[in-house]
Subunit: 379 residues, 4 copies
Amino acid sequence: MTELKVALIGGGFMGRAHSLAYALAPIAAELGVTLHREVLVDATPELAATGAAQLGWNSSETDWRAVIARPDIDIVDICTPPDLHEPIALAAIEAGKHVFCEKPITNHSAEALRMAQQARAAGVVTQVGFNYRHTPAISFTKQLLDSGRLGAPLQFRASYLQESSFNADPNRWRAKKSTGGSGTVGDIGSHIVDAAEWLFGDITQVTARVRAKAPGDGGWATEQERLGEDLIDDGAVWLAEFANGAIGSFSVNSFASGRKNRFHFELDASKGAVEFNWNNREEFRVSYVDEAADHQGFRTVHTNNQHPNGWWRLAGLGTGYVEVSAIQFQEFIRAIVKGERARPDFADAARIQQIVEAVHTSAESGRWVDVPARTREER
Amino acid sequence: MTELKVALIGGGFMGRAHSLAYALAPIAAELGVTLHREVLVDATPELAATGAAQLGWNSSETDWRAVIARPDIDIVDICTPPDLHEPIALAAIEAGKHVFCEKPITNHSAEALRMAQQARAAGVVTQVGFNYRHTPAISFTKQLLDSGRLGAPLQFRASYLQESSFNADPNRWRAKKSTGGSGTVGDIGSHIVDAAEWLFGDITQVTARVRAKAPGDGGWATEQERLGEDLIDDGAVWLAEFANGAIGSFSVNSFASGRKNRFHFELDASKGAVEFNWNNREEFRVSYVDEAADHQGFRTVHTNNQHPNGWWRLAGLGTGYVEVSAIQFQEFIRAIVKGERARPDFADAARIQQIVEAVHTSAESGRWVDVPARTREER
Amino acid sequence: MTELKVALIGGGFMGRAHSLAYALAPIAAELGVTLHREVLVDATPELAATGAAQLGWNSSETDWRAVIARPDIDIVDICTPPDLHEPIALAAIEAGKHVFCEKPITNHSAEALRMAQQARAAGVVTQVGFNYRHTPAISFTKQLLDSGRLGAPLQFRASYLQESSFNADPNRWRAKKSTGGSGTVGDIGSHIVDAAEWLFGDITQVTARVRAKAPGDGGWATEQERLGEDLIDDGAVWLAEFANGAIGSFSVNSFASGRKNRFHFELDASKGAVEFNWNNREEFRVSYVDEAADHQGFRTVHTNNQHPNGWWRLAGLGTGYVEVSAIQFQEFIRAIVKGERARPDFADAARIQQIVEAVHTSAESGRWVDVPARTREER
Amino acid sequence: MTELKVALIGGGFMGRAHSLAYALAPIAAELGVTLHREVLVDATPELAATGAAQLGWNSSETDWRAVIARPDIDIVDICTPPDLHEPIALAAIEAGKHVFCEKPITNHSAEALRMAQQARAAGVVTQVGFNYRHTPAISFTKQLLDSGRLGAPLQFRASYLQESSFNADPNRWRAKKSTGGSGTVGDIGSHIVDAAEWLFGDITQVTARVRAKAPGDGGWATEQERLGEDLIDDGAVWLAEFANGAIGSFSVNSFASGRKNRFHFELDASKGAVEFNWNNREEFRVSYVDEAADHQGFRTVHTNNQHPNGWWRLAGLGTGYVEVSAIQFQEFIRAIVKGERARPDFADAARIQQIVEAVHTSAESGRWVDVPARTREER
């Protein structure tokens, strides 16, 4: 394999982000293959042509089925709204393409599990856009946890906060259940769930409270209104229990004034602790129990090429959104080249969707809800 | 009233902290009364005499009943281990003394409610040592919330983390249920519950997971071990629902490496948000929704005499533990002088104890647990 | 004009960085022109071919003179070591090409001034790689200062610190005066001088102390050793006086343990103050004198598309090194398309080189050294 | 010696601060002596009596000469405006009293040197109120530097910034040269000079620019106006060379919007670096060169009783202004009890005054100005 041709389905915000990331990925590191941004698919010929020109794709199309059918296409990257993910992904899998899909892969875990199963059966590589976990500081945390340097997992505290719903268009697709699906729990909560499971292991149970905002500058809608009017959720809190006994608390809110896409977690383990804040994403913050008594405390390490996927020797040079997204695609391409499983793949994403649904179920039932165990294949 | 004489029961860590705070309180602000650190009570004549000399009390005693019986004593301040709080407090109330009691006022809410009831019946002023809420930044947050400037409460996220249990003496009183009682939930979790209710209003329900640490540098004990061996809790997570519909997530851990007495909360409301971290206790951090589009974000305001209980005109001069404790006593003394209710009083503390117990009950039952509503008198 | 073809001279660290930035620039924003990464020039055919393939250039060459002679090339981008900048730049200017040159454009201000003069005479657009000033937070600061919102400039404090010289190869080109030229003052100090003049106006005088490190883990070499052995400088401090009366203090050090490419400045003006730290480059930090008395303090604004050159609506999405470099090229391309002067151009860079030299001259003479005034054309 | 009686001269802002600190000092740590706050001296009988009652002194007086003459007084603490320091201090020394004096001990180094000389001749212990250096994080830095753990001093960067001159009373004593004397350089700059010499060793030379603010919200006054009208300085920048070859940059400004008494320094040495910010005074921030390659960076250590003068085992409990001031008096009392030299004493303060004057002299002459070397006795 010396070349890989990508078809991008959807030229909106995420399509643009992916285009930027594909532009960087092969320059920033040797991938062992030549990557072609081959074709951009969008709803109309004008949109598709303009998008291809602006976003740097070789050609444009409007019919995603025709593109998937092309034998020269190796990778299908799905950036449509979530309700279109499933048919496109299934068709691409059936055509033997490797598939990158934005999250949520669907708004229904049953669909997601079926997608994962078919991808595995077809032997194609899949990956889902939980981009934040590819930040070098998080990858390094994973290494330290897996190596035992931090000891046994104890507590995970995470939040993902945005102020994006203040003054937002009430008719945007994220605001409607038919398109936006799982609301803040699925949209941003899924990222912190992904980080939690990646780092601390499988979650077995959750309990939750979920809220939708009432119009105007008042408080939350009542639960009667939220469930009766089938409103999308704007905020939530939940607890999780992990298979290894660790416990976690999670919060999301899109009405969090002043919060700038703040994906944040703190984890305590029996030999150390780590903190990560996307707002300072170059900083790996760690504390170890065995430090000298007069030197106990967190150290702030700016990641560089001493850490996984760091591009530069000079720490502090600066890692942005596009750079982390490019790392995500580097991982995906490397998995394809090596014929290995990429992470997080459709199986991981299906599981995250199960947890998102368990949060919603728990909020309605008022009970702890079990998350199904992974099969051996999914692990 | 021109003079107030205080008897301090217990000369340990908290007795020393109170002594420092009493020394500052009347110098830092005009209280309208002369305060006498009259007598220190401790277990033996030697301990009491040494303590009185070191901590600056006029005399020493060993019999707290005798001291309470003295007509010249106006205030009884209880700094003993928690299991002795109730008999001393009830005796002091019966003798018509104003009572300051360290938290938890007891390890059993039923006792606490009885103490609160008797104090109210006796017409004495009581206050409990939830000192952190007296930080000027928190008092100012309370003013802004009450004035409506921040809008309707939406979400409260809080944690109180310490690394104090690493390398701690396993025989310390905090480590035993008979003396330490409610573990981290009661010891440090109670502070964040106090702040939450003070700022966001009454909590109606909680659900929780609670953990005790296994010996060595492994993870948590199993729940079977924790409940079977009646171990004190070392960490917990819980959710809360507030009467006004707001939701909250709470975490405590005494095995949190690198965390230096980190009492921390973030609150989102419909017109703004506030963040507070005791590690930077002079900083009031606030964001408002109605700022100009290119100036949205948190501002960091160092409290000074423009804010409640600020002693100095020069912001950034520095507010420490002893200073905030002194503010606590200034509030207590002012309430006595004015004949008003002090906050948080025994009724508030009883309620916090109810919530602490609800957290434990929920952890055992796996269900949301209701917190009893306050009576009109308790509000 | 609908197309622009770029020739990149030099495929090392900066060549790679420029390649990444060129890949992003036209995707991230509409530039009104199609950009072709046409040819990469490097020392040997192998280096050039490998570089072109890896860094995404259409072809490769070894003879920069031949490339400059090609009529299809519109832009020459110079990423060689500094001692080669001048001949390449002069040839490119003579051939009527627009020239982007990495800093320092030369190690001698007289050369730089001549380069600037010839570029102006030839009517080509030039720009120099003082990339940090293109950070949206800095561009926004510039707007606020120019608009008068911050009042009159008072004091500028800046430092640029790295730990890169610990454990560095003593034979690297930066370590030798013949190639590295102006040491830390020229290499990193020039960036803070650029920011200072861009924001606060022209500098008229400087006074300085400059140091070179002695081998091993001891302190500085003596001045006798530094000057006698013609050592490159590893650290320096200097003061500056601005034409408007403002004053500034500046520090650089490449032996600053723990400092991760920390480009940092604080500026005080008569109606407000701003702080910027490249390590948190998305944060625009500002304080205004006219805020309410209980809300005085810095606010932290994460830049987004409300600010100059912000790509995203969602603040906090993340701005990295490559993204800021891409903004730099967007500015350059826009200037070419519009036929306007780009900033900072060769004239600005020549001036910065004059200040770098004045710092060195002052360190040797022990006196304040005047910086020549700009001509009207250079302003 | 079992008792020490203190006379406090001056009941203003600093008198109140000292009263608070004296109240804490003997409670917070065993001093080996009983301390009596014996008498407060103020300008009128009413002021003195009210002050004594409010600030907790046993008695009040108006005639400082009479108080100094009292044989029962052991310590004279001078908190008057600076122009009265000298006569009171000399009288106290002559009477054989130990003397604590607020800074600046005088506005003239010649006077200060004479005061230091007479104190030494009289064998009394003196100390001057450079309180910040007693912060545990700074004392610990001193220990690490002296032990060699941080290697050889390289660069010191410091600033002390306040916004206190915005909206200040133009008739306050600090604003007039006859009383306020040395302006921001002497008032706040002296603190960072004290820290610099304490940590990095003696300064040998300085060069400076000094500014006074023009009225209104415009910029600085011209140097002609500043010198012609003998205006007090409101801001300055200076460089320093240390005897060991290290270099430093210093900035002060009292028109620094948003700066909350920000005393800040960073120091780089050949094996490590330290940063300190009074706004986060519990944090000792250190980086070491010899850390593992993937763990390079600053660690943040909250001081506790593992560090010099830490009162509490629990780090993060909180250290405020009054607490650090109390540490200052603990050091003074211990020196008296042990019969040792206290630091910083009158000799240290005289030297700081020499440097303050050298800064002013340099600003007028435009030249580097030598600071006299210490005699062996002064070291």
